[in-house]
Amino acid sequence: MMINDKNSQKIVDIIQNYARKHSLWILAYGTGCGAIEIPPTMTSRYDAERLGVRGAATPRQADVLLITGYLTTKTLKRVIRVYEQMQDPKYVIGFGSCTINGGMYWDSYNTIKALDRYLPVDVFINGCMPRPEAVLAGFAKLQELIQAGKADGARKYKENLEWYRANQKKVIPNWRMPEYNW
């Protein structure tokens, strides 16, 4: 890492990112069948807590939004709301095929097919459903990204808010939500 490099990080950022990557408080949005994969990930078999991953109770306290499975339009609305309530820096992990391309719900009349059209996803974890090993690998990837300062989904979301909003409003016709305020 070069000091003069424009993309390089300051020492403060390195320390902060180091702390951030070791303290990932997840808000597990158990939308679909993926929710069942979270307990083995967190409990003694795979013990994600050794990576600093820990459940958070509310979006205000959380760092990572974990979307575990298909999202109906009705759920998407809540997910967007939750994401917007989280504090920067914040990350999104799409979990399972459904978040990538719709998975087995590809032609459902009320399920979105690609999450990254609506929210900035930092890491996708493939699988239907992904095993806890895959989940841990996803977290490891996220940590890598954070340390490198590349997990900047939140910034992207803020910058491209209009595009995201347009996509969101396309599937959520009746938009009754407050303005975005972190």
Binding site: Q16, A19, S23, T43, D47, R50, A57, R60, Q87, W182
Partner: protein, 303 residues
């Protein structure tokens, strides 16, 4: 002026010590819990990461002035407790504000912060916060009874309301109060279970039911200050117990050892316990702990 500088210095140093030790204890708590559950668990320094991360959060929201001030309230309590509770037997290194009657003062200043924070939690408008606060306050009324009974028993027995006096007494006689007033110690320790709000008395901020209750709307810097204050306050409370019942400490290492042993009690009790409902918790504290407190008073009066 000299004095003020001295006290400020003492406060700063004890704050740093308390912060470090308190956060370490919290981390150790997680580690030990994980080990008990047959997990590897986070490293012991995990909570430093957490605090640092919370401190490095870029944005924060608040719902009004009271919520903004809430963490400051609880920090005041933590710092004031530290200022009053003697850290070591020898007052030279950490000079602080001890005076006669500081026990009574402590009892009140220790609820100052939670009440201030409760106001902040109330202003968020989140029903979970308010529910958590009501449970917390109710539970506090529960455990204050045995706790005050234990303290009153000490006051009766040793005719003083000063912590320093009690510490000097133990230093002179060489006997710890936990042996000379066992019932008071029991009552106080059982009250401590409630004070630390670990299981089975963790309904206040139960993440599953109440979404962490009073803290549910606090993130970023607010949670950062709260967590730091919690750690400092926990250490202060443990130090108070050590001072009162375990003869104080002559240097920091002994203090850390003693406080850690004491800390194991609520921690281990919490690991193996399910959760009480609020009224069950209150009845619990008004049962055996209060009986021990009563026995302590009887012992103090008649023996």
């Amino acid at each position: 002026m000299q004095e003020i500088l001295q006290y400020t210095w003492g406060a700063l140093v004890s704050f740093v010590v308390a912060f470090t030790v308190g956060i370490t204890y919290m981390g150790l708590n997680r580690k030990i819990t994980a080990r008990v559950q047959n997990r590897i668990g986070p490293p012991w320094y995990q909570n430093f990461f957490d605090v640092l991360k919370l401190g490095s959060k870029e944005t924060s929201i608040h719902h009004g002035v009271m919520q903004h001030m809430g963490p400051a309230f609880i920090m005041v309590t933590a710092v004031m407790s530290l200022l009053i509770i003697p850290i070591l037997n020898d007052n030279r290194f950490f000079p602080n504000l001890n005076f006669h009657g500081d026990l009574v003062f402590l009892l009140y200043i220790m609820v100052f912060g939670p009440l201030g924070m409760a106001l902040g939690a109330g202003q968020t408008g989140n029903p979970n916060s308010a529910i958590g606060v009501t449970r917390g306050l109710s539970q506090m009324v529960g455990f204050e009874i045995p706790w005050v009974m234990a303290l009153v028993a000490l006051m009766i027995q040793y005719k003083t309301t000063s912590i320093v006096d009690l510490m000097n007494l133990q230093a002179e006689t060489g006997r710890w109060l936990m042996f000379t007033s066992p019932f008071a110690f029991l009552a106080a320790v059982l009250a401590m279970l409630g004070m630390f709000r670990y299981a089975p008395f963790d309904i206040v901020g139960a993440p599953q039911e109440l979404a962490s209750g009073p803290m549910s709307e606090n993130g970023g810097k607010y949670l950062f200050v709260m967590m730091s204050a919690g750690s400092v306050f926990a250490f202060a409370k443990l130090t108070l117990y050590v001072d009162l019942f375990m003869g104080g400490a002559n240097n920091l290492i002994i203090l850390v050892v003693k406080t850690f042993i004491l800390y194991l009690i609520p921690m281990l009790y919490g690991i193996v316990s399910p959760r009480y409902r609020t009224e069950q918790a209150i009845r619990y504290f008004w049962g055996w702990p209060s009986l021990f407190g009563l026995l302590a008073i009887l012992q103090a009066v008649f023996l």
